[in-house]
């Protein structure tokens, strides 16, 4: 007996293959970066700080000691990239977790109780839409100063609205569903209702948005540091290395190319994971 595969099945299975490829690629890229950054203290005990003025601006793949070359002060580019990843990952994860917690609470309150809080959240959303993060950051950080804490603080302040809007929309849709109304008829209290019936139903889209925002905030932090508004330029960070490398673009391309590739691979890994999660958890495209 011969089996024939209809074109439709072929497309579906190819799509599924692509999906698992997306997951493998995304998970391994993010995994390698996170592992390298966690082990950076062990891999590069000098923290990428040791200078060797005799070995300035060595090109990549010329010496085993400096696979990706050295910068204008003779510091190893690879070591600084791995150590610099600490800043990016810290900002990315901490800002997103804090923003998501704040936004989820606000979204639950505004979607569940409507009324006054609802209006506040929606008006904040309007303001956030008109003021891109980079403008908020320019205004406040130029006055209050940069640094890790301030960068994270302003990310949370300007991004919690995204989570609040997502959760609010989901809660509004859930309110009308039969199982919620049934639970209410049984006399389930508000907090228990939120914990057992509402939260489990909004967690999928929330995780997708968080994954994509970790990626996005890594990009934002590097922009701020590049502009001199982010973390201290003396601490190795991807944005800071790019700001230094810009001056040497003509003679030493690798000083700008390597940290940029590090950002790209990290963010691409997270974006692939987010995309894969979206296909899995959110087929109707709420996020």
């Amino acid at each position: 007996m011969t089996t024939t595969v209809s074109p439709a099945t072929k497309v579906v299975s190819r799509r599924r293959n692509y999906g698992s490829l997306e997951f493998i690629l995304g998970a391994s890229l993010s995994g390698i970066v996170i592992l390298a950054v966690l082990l950076s203290g062990f891999l590069f005990p000098d923290g990428g700080e040791s200078m060797d003025l005799g070995a300035r601006l060595i090109a990549p793949f010329q010496s085993w000691d400096h696979i990706f070359g050295t910068d204008p002060l003779g510091r190893d580019v690879l070591a600084r990239v791995v150590v610099g990843g600490k800043i990016s990952l810290t900002v990315g994860f901490v800002s997103v977790i804090a923003g998501a917690i704040l936004g989820t609470i606000m979204g639950l309150v505004s979607g569940y109780y409507r009324g006054f809080w609802d209006m506040i959240v929606m008006r904040f959303a309007d303001v956030q839409l008109a003021l891109p993060f980079i403008l908020v950051a320019i205004t406040f950080i130029s006055i209050l100063g940069g640094g890790l804490t301030n960068v994270i603080f302003f990310m949370v302040i300007s991004q919690w609205v995204q989570y609040a809007r997502l959760i609010r929309g989901q809660v509004l849709a859930l309110r009308e569903r039969e199982f919620i109304q049934a639970a209410r008829a049984f006399g389930v209290r508000d907090l228990a209702m939120i914990r057992h019936h509402v939260l489990p139903n909004v967690i999928g889209p929330l995780i997708i948005l968080m994954t994509l925002n970790v990626a996005n905030n890594i990009l934002l932090e590097s922009s701020l540091t590049f502009l001199g508004l982010g973390v201290d330029p003396m601490i190795p960070s991807w944005g800071g290395m790019l700001a230094d490398g810009r001056t040497y673009l003509q003679d030493a391309w690798w000083v700008s190319v390597v940290p940029g590739l590090a950002i790209m691979l990290t963010v691409l890994g997270l974006n692939l994971l987010g995309d894969w999660l979206r296909d899995r958890l959110d087929p109707t495209g709420k996020v």
Partner: protein, 307 residues
């Protein structure tokens, strides 16, 4: 329609109010501008400080200062720069066109990139081409705009010196900054074009157009594309804020004489009237663009008004 216009107008007014309050508040967080201005002026007496405060109107209550500032916003009078006393309005008048020119050329370029790619992905749905375009769009989302700018300068201005690397030196200078922003913008726009195109292509009038024997290119680019135009324009309108934010950053890479450069120079020189004025004007431009796009959408598609 009138109700929709009033509602949308009030919303925009609220946003303008909130943004200006925020900026005015932020600038006042600096402490005493009079002290800052007199730094390095040698011996400064309390009377000198009082004179500076009097001259800048800093001795009045915050709400009076804010109202004066708002009055200035609506009359185009943003005060004078701390550096040399040039009118802030004039500085912005010189810088804003450069930024807007960059914004619009990026928008047009990104439409030219994303529409053909998005249509191709939709037509070849599920094939290698579709997935290739999807991966390309993910990669395009994955690097910082200023790094892409640096790489384009490295490739097209240093290794192959085709375009000028920075500054304003005729229309050729527009290419690299616009291309940078267009690539970043296209990464998300491609997906939107693909999705709306997929919906459109299954519509009956497309079937009719095909069965009339029209050439595929005419069907796609004349009949189908027209229906994608509204969501596309709305999306680009919503992205305008992010586009401006991105341009502010890459202006530094290209030494572009626009609002970003103006704001950063103001930060460096602690020139708060210029900083306040430029952030306010950029936010106003974004609010106005969003408002216009929304109203245009309301006129074209009556369903939006009743929402």
């Amino acid at each position: 329609m009138t109700g929709f216009l009033i509602k949308r107008g009030l919303q925009a007014l609220f946003v303008i109010l909130a943004v200006t309050l925020l900026v005015a508040f932020a600038v006042r967080l600096t402490g005493d501008p009079a002290l800052m201005l007199s730094q390095g002026a040698g011996s400064v007496t309390e009377a000198d400080l009082a004179n500076i405060r009097q001259a800048l109107g800093l001795n009045r209550p915050f709400y009076v200062q804010y109202l004066t500032y708002m009055q200035g916003v609506f009359t185009g009078d943003f005060g004078a720069s701390f550096m040399g006393g040039t009118s802030v309005g004039r500085l912005i008048g010189d810088a804003l066109p450069a930024t807007l020119m960059l914004a619009f050329s990026s928008l047009i370029l990104s439409i030219l990139i994303s529409v053909p790619l998005g249509i191709r992905a939709a037509v070849k749905k599920g094939t290698g081409t579709d997935q290739g375009i999807r991966i390309l769009s993910l990669v395009g989302l994955s690097f910082p705009n200023f790094w892409l700018a640096l790489m384009l300068v490295l490739l097209l201005a240093i290794v192959f010196p085709i375009f000028p690397p920075s500054g304003w030196d005729g229309p050729m200078s527009l290419v690299l900054p616009s291309l940078t922003m267009a690539i970043i913008l296209s990464a998300t726009t491609v997906r939107l074009v693909r999705t709306t195109m997929l919906e459109t292509l299954s519509a009956q009038y497309i079937m009719v157009a095909r069965s009339k024997g029209l050439r595929e290119r005419v069907v796609l680019y004349k009949h189908a594309l027209r229906n994608c135009a509204i969501p596309l324009i709305t999306y680009l309108g919503l992205q305008f804020g992010n586009l401006i934010g991105g341009i502010v950053v890459i202006e530094k890479v290209f030494n572009w004489p626009g609002m970003g450069t103006l704001a950063f120079d103001a930060i460096g020189g602690r020139d708060y009237p210029v900083l306040q004025g430029s952030v306010t004007v950029l936010a106003l431009v974004i609010v106005i663009v969003n408002l216009v796009v929304d109203i245009a959408y309301g006129i074209v598609d009556p369903r939006i008004r009743t929402k």
